[in-house]
């Protein structure tokens, strides 16, 4: 019989809004540079810069800010003005202070799963993720909070090892096929994909045809899925 010793939950765009703040900032960034290209072209350049910088900066708002500054310099051939760069820093400061907006159904699902070993597993800037966990009011629901540099199979394996959890008895839930689902399936665990309307291009990956991959429309359906999988054995 299948039984889950622990359930891992992604945070950004699984428990609370995140990508929407990046999109708002991206739109303001494009408006700031409107003399230098149309919004799609500028957003494309920004994405390319972010992708190229990922190995150096990792995930998170500070790296996004640095990539915006770099893109602005490159797009203007260095003619960007200091006050415009200052505006980019202000946009980043607003992101770093944004309120935490829980997604519908998440808290009720955590209530229904209370008593189980729940682990919050996220990636990005350490200080920003810790701020959001605290502001969410959800910290007490979790047996552990793991903030990773990247969500690779190796990183998940380290988390499972630290908590003494067998991958076969672990379920990971999140909105990123690439970061939340596929690495856990690779380790032998169960992956639950809950797509969000807004998901960063980088996080997209083709859904594998896999017997331990499940898809839900929102967090509210999670407790039933867990019960169903355990009953089906």
């Amino acid at each position: 019989m299948t039984a889950f010793d622990a359930i891992g939950l992604d945070a950004d765009d699984t428990l609370w809004e995140n990508e929407t703040f990046f999109r708002v900032t991206e739109a303001e960034f494009c408006a700031l540079l409107a003399d230098h290209g149309d919004p799609e072209a500028i957003a494309g350049r920004l994405y390319d810069t972010e992708s190229a910088n990922l190995a150096r900066y990792g995930y998170g708002i500070k790296g996004f800010m640095l990539s915006m500054v770099q893109t602005a310099i490159e797009l203007t051939d260095g003619r960007i003005e200091g006050r415009q760069i200052a505006r980019i820093l202000d946009l980043g400061a607003e992101m770093l202070a944004h309120p935490v907006t829980l997604l519908p159904g998440g808290e009720a699902a955590l209530d229904a799963l209370a008593g189980r070993r729940l682990i919050l597993i996220t990636k990005g800037d350490l200080i920003d993720q810790e701020r959001k966990v605290a502001a969410s009011g959800l910290a007490e629901r979790f047996a552990g909070v793991e903030i990773l540099a990247d969500k690779t199979p190796e990183a998940y394996a380290r988390v499972l090892d630290a908590h003494g959890i067998a991958a076969e008895r672990f379920m990971m839930v999140g909105n990123s096929m690439r970061s939340d689902v596929i690495p856990v399936l690779e380790l032998g665990g169960t992956g639950v994909f809950i797509p969000h309307a807004l998901t960063w291009n980088h996080e997209h990956a083709e859904a594998p045809d896999h017997p331990r991959l499940h898809q839900l429309s929102d967090m509210a359906a999670l407790p039933d899925l867990v019960a169903r999988l355990e009953a089906a054995g």
Copy 2:
């Protein structure tokens, strides 16, 4: 009898060089802005900006880069040129790629302490600290690597709790009185202060008069201190 179940080791400027890279970059930053003030004044402004931004950005090179950009804009009343901002981003990129230079005596001390439960405890950018741990070649020596947003008593308490270690049987070793020693003394642990010639002003704190505070000149003396404290009971 005193016995240590685990020994925590700071990394930056305890096991390997770190502050020296910040100082080199700071000097280049001051040279870049030489028309706008003497080096001490510019470095002072940068320090003030960094300190004001700590709550927002946390520790690490990305926050330092953003603080350099902000300081450059403010010091020039927004007249800084794009190519100079680009130079600041390049300085940051060099820092993020700097080689890991082990401090003398560290590796031999870890050899002498092999078999003990050693935990690397550091703070800063997740991805940068992970890079340095990997590049140091020392990762295998540690039962755990903990990268914290800040080294507060609460953060140390979470680490000890996660590893099942009693504070009274924990020793922390590092070059920062403020971050490595005082919080651990507060929890009831033992603190070993190994000052480094270069230490960021922010990390300075007055040494408390405390029976569980010990000072060494370098890591080479650590194994003897551990043996002596355990023998003395």
